[in-house]
């Protein structure tokens, strides 16, 4: 029943290269359908990504899911869809406009879209009729109808039905009852398409071998696993999108893998708010736990006072900020790199923090474990700067590697060490010249173990002081400690081929930058060197990169160019070289945005 609006049916075939955009209403079970499609493509060995664009709502509002399959491994977001599946009558008029010229439209036949977008290939499907025939329980129809388009897509694009069925079982965790309800719809969609649709589009998939040994994972689950294998003992948190699933995954994993004789070798506490969550971290880190939380921008704002206390009283813990869009509530289900400055310099009165910036789930896993080490070694809060795109979207990733290095707990004096020292030690004394003092843990059995922890001015011996030189000396030592941190944090990832122009970026813009650079070279003959920041403070390598290049673009997902501001503040000598490329509509970066900006700016050179 393919309508014949397209005068010339494309004859060429496009294999393993399309963007599929599915529009549904949230709370309609569409997540299952979309994940089945994603997993099936993954199972066929095709490079693929899945991005969920969802509303801040539980049921009934529009939601979109974008799958990009690309044989060359370009899996960043792409603006225009090749295939649009319209399941939501509320948004279908707008949804068809997201299709690129000549794209495929799949929709419920009663939606009256036949007259729209004559440039596209139309497949009108009687979804409502089909679901009535294939799902006897009326109450379940709303939840199963979306499985029909999975079947239709499988038939149209030659997605392996065995992989689809395997994916369905995995997605429904093998729950037979749920599988039995979904399977007939899936097969009905396939069968109907085979009998009624005449293939009029060029898209198809073929088996590849790009996913050997890979996994599909959300960044929040990866960070959670990293924390568990990093030896976390205390988790305190307050729910906030898009970070909640991090602590929920973590609790789930800990409950499975960290029980001993029926008891927990960890604690997870849902606090009354973010202030309490970070207060608990401060207590726990102070008393010797490896403690972490996850939150998002508004939570960071609430935590600021205690972050300052922990910086100043030198207490280790980890905060994972899964950034979302906006000041205030903003767009809580969209992504942004908007908390750069509020993490780097969180709190009041001269504070600077160690921040690590993962770009993939694998790096999130590795950096999460390492952040617990850094926090204890540097005796300070450490931030993991993630975002919604990394945290909540689905990424094909290399398998995580088991950590081989032992857990590092930093400079801790126990009973024996204190005996050797004859009890003579100073909590804030810089014994080693690296700015990092020694600490004791409450409960240490030595009469000289205890010290008084305070947010007020203090001496190297941890006694109260308002004397100007005590204050200044301590602040200078903290600055020295931060210099030491430069030698310990993850170094940037640099690709330097001696070009005049450089590009600095960080986090989840990685895939779009990779694709943009390839396009810039192939289409415009423009070549840039790359520096992917992986931590704050900026290490020597960042300075060297800025030094070597004539001009350096800083690409980021915020309006004000926050990382550029930080580079300007920390390395002012090079600020004249910095040029901002900013993207801030709440959506992940696309390669096109970068290509367009660089081409324009390089033309001016």
């Amino acid at each position: 029943m393919a309508t014949a609006e397209v005068s010339e049916t494309e004859t060429r075939t496009i294999v393993n290269d399309f963007v599929l955009h599915v529009a549904t209403a949230n709370g309609s079970g569409s997540q299952t359908s979309n994940m089945v499609l994603l997993r099936a493509l993954f199972g066929m060995g095709i490079p693929v990504s899945g991005k969920n664009l969802f509303p801040s709502n539980i049921q009934g509002l529009p939601t979109w899911f974008t799958i990009r399959a690309n044989k060359n491994g370009w899996i960043s977001r792409k603006q225009d869809a090749d295939v649009v599946v319209c399941m939501n009558p509320e948004t279908s008029d707008e949804d068809v406009e997201t299709a690129r010229q000549g794209a495929v439209l799949i929709y419920e036949e009663s939606l009256n879209l036949a007259d729209k977008r004559p440039d596209c290939v139309h497949y009108a499907v009687p979804f409502k009729k089909l679901i009535a025939e294939n799902c006897p329980d009326m109450r379940l129809r709303k939840l199963v109808i979306n499985m029909l388009y999975v079947g239709v897509c499988a038939q149209l694009f030659e997605i392996d039905m065995e992989e689809i069925q395997k994916a369905l079982k995995q997605q429904l965790s093998g729950k037979q009852k749920a599988i039995d309800i979904n399977l007939p719809a899936l097969e009905a969609g396939f069968k109907w398409a085979a009998e009624n649709l005449k293939k009029a589009d060029p898209f198809k998939v073929e088996r590849m071998n790009a996913n050997e040994g890979k996994i599909i994972v959300e960044g929040n689950a990866a960070t959670a696993l990293g924390l568990m294998f990093g030896g976390i003992t205390v988790v305190t948190w307050y729910p906030i999108t898009p970070s909640s699933s991090l602590c929920e995954y973590l609790e789930e994993y800990l409950n499975r893998f960290r029980m001993k004789d029926g008891k927990k070798t960890f604690a997870v506490v849902q606090a009354e708010d973010e202030i309490a969550a970070v207060g608990m971290l401060a207590g726990a880190g102070w008393a010797g736990a490896r403690a972490a939380t996850s939150t998002s921008g508004p939570g960071i704002s609430l935590m600021n006072e205690i972050i300052g206390l922990a910086y100043f009283a030198e207490i280790p813990f980890v905060i994972c900020d899964v950034q979302r869009t906006g000041p205030s509530t903003g767009l809580p289900t969209r992504t942004m790199q908007g908390d750069v400055l509020s993490l780097l310099y969180a709190s009041h009165g001269d504070t600077k923090h160690v921040v690590v910036i993962p770009n993939t789930p694998k790096e999130a896993f590795e950096m999460a474990g390492e952040s617990l080490n850094l926090a204890e070694e540097l005796q300070t809060p450490v931030f993991i700067m993630s975002d919604l795109d990394l945290g909540m979207n689905y990424w094909v990733s290399d398998r995580f590697e088991y950590p081989t290095e032992p857990i590092r707990r930093g400079k801790v004096l126990g009973k024996e060490e204190l005996e050797k020292l004859g009890g003579k030690w100073g909590r804030y004394a810089d014994v080693d010249g690296d700015g990092i003092p020694y600490r004791t843990i409450p409960g240490t059995e030595h009469p000289k173990a205890a010290y008084f922890t305070r947010g007020t001015g203090h001496t190297p011996q941890a006694t109260y002081s308002e004397k100007p030189h005590d204050w200044k000396n301590n602040m200078d030592r903290l600055a020295r400690k931060f210099e030491t941190a430069k030698t310990m944090v993850p170094k940037p990832e640099i690709q330097d081929n001696g070009h005049a122009a450089g590009l600095i970026y960080y986090g989840t813009t990685h895939e779009a930058i990779r694709e943009a650079c390839a396009a810039l070279e192939a289409r415009h003959g423009l070549k840039l060197d790359l520096c992917r920041l992986r931590a704050f403070p900026f290490t020597q390598e960042v300075e060297d990169f800025l030094n070597k290049h004539e001009r350096v673009y800083v690409v980021e997902l915020n309006r004000d160019g926050q990382m550029r501001m930080a580079l300007h503040a920390e390395l002012p000598h090079f600020s004249h070289k910095l040029r901002s490329i900013k993207h801030y509509d709440g959506m992940p970066l696309t390669a096109d945005v970068v290509v367009k900006a660089i081409v324009e700016r390089e033309r001016e050179v």
Partner: protein, 347 residues
């Protein structure tokens, strides 16, 4: 008893420590401050209970009251944190090391104003903590503003009258399920010493709301938190005794009319009602008593409510006995096969 064999040897407790081993640095509060009376009784109670100072932790927020942990038990770890957030710091400390004995010292502003959110939630959780509110109805360090425990109609030093209702922390604590709620007066040192010991021996959260007059900003006529007012209006509900777990004489003692409650560590608190037979194990009796006294402007002191049967926070969340802070890598990092299993699930 240990250490009393020679007449000149200093007196020690059962773990061989002298009173001075429980002392702190010199108080910098105003002379005559109620808080110093409380500090002295905390030192007594810890000495009497033979608490190992290294196993004891002192926590506080911000304010005059929150400075006091510096004035007792220098051999103990202490954390003077931020305004109103002591409960969360205490919670985290307990999560890291459940074996530590903790006292949290706060004030009425630190608890009933800025700290109200954390106060109510720590009450719900029944953390193992002695939570002392040194309650004077006024902000000291910022020079004399009303706090939320100031009674309606009471006067500031310069005459301003409080138009708002007071928050009764004891009533709130009872309402929220706290298992040990006492109201005390800093001038009644005998009762403080007994109740502090009972609170320290109690397993779970013990709230001690102690009227502790501010001699500088709230000790004038028209104040309902002054020394003269509290002295004139205190009504002791009970004669309270404390029998430590190690006391061999407990069995021989006469147990008459008093209520005898065995605490988690094996010690006993004895509560002999004065005047009428007030039942401190009844929540409804506690709430009506507090309302009644509040209306009359009197201050009922004693153990307002006790329920030693509620499970403690660390047990509610099923934490292992060993302090989490001391768990070795062999326990905190699951094996290679676990990562393998998870990776296979995600493949």
């Amino acid at each position: 008893m240990a250490g009393t064999a020679t007449p000149n040897a200093p007196e020690t407790n059962r773990i061989g420590l002298q009173k001075k081993d429980y002392s702190g640095s010199k108080s910098t509060l105003c002379i005559g401050c109620g808080h110093d009376l409380i500090t002295a009784r905390v030192i007594d109670a810890c000495y009497d209970l033979n608490i190992q100072p290294e196993q004891f932790v002192k926590l506080s927020g911000i304010g005059c009251s929150s400075k006091t942990p510096a004035y007792f038990m220098s051999r103990s770890f202490s954390f003077n944190s931020v305004h109103g957030r002591m409960p969360s710091i205490a919670t985290g400390t307990a999560l890291a090391n459940r074996t530590l004995k903790m006292i949290g010292v706060s004030g009425d502003g630190d608890t009933a104003n800025i700290g109200m959110g954390q106060f109510v939630h720590i009450m719900r959780r029944n953390l193992d903590l002695v939570y002392v509110v040194e309650n004077n109805g006024v902000y000291g360090l910022t020079k004399g503003q009303f706090s939320a425990t100031a009674d309606k109609g009471s006067k500031l030093k310069h005459g301003a009258v409080n138009p708002f209702h007071a928050i009764d922390l004891c009533a709130l604590a009872v309402e929220l399920g706290c298992g040990f709620v006492a109201r005390l007066f800093a001038g009644n040192t005998k009762m403080m010493r007994q109740v502090l010991q009972a609170a320290l021996a109690f397993e779970g959260l013990a709230l001690l709301d102690i009227i502790s007059p501010c001699v500088t900003f709230n000790n004038h006529a028209g104040s309902t938190k002054s020394f003269p007012y509290a002295k004139d209006n205190e009504f002791a509900l009970q004669d309270i005794g404390f029998v430590p777990a190690y006391d061999p004489h407990y069995e021989e003692m006469e147990h008459g009319e008093e209520r005898d409650i065995k605490l988690g560590d094996g010690s006993h608190v004895t509560i002999k009602a004065l005047d009428k037979d007030y039942d401190p194990t009844s929540r409804t009796a506690a709430l009506s008593l507090l309302a009644e006294y509040h209306e009359s402007g009197k201050i009922a002191t004693g153990i307002i409510y006790i329920n030693e049967k509620e499970p403690r926070f660390v047990d509610q969340i099923n934490m292992c006995e060993q302090p989490l802070s001391t768990l070795p890598q062999s326990i905190t990092r699951p094996g290679k096969e676990v990562l393998e299993e998870v990776m296979n699930e995600l493949a």
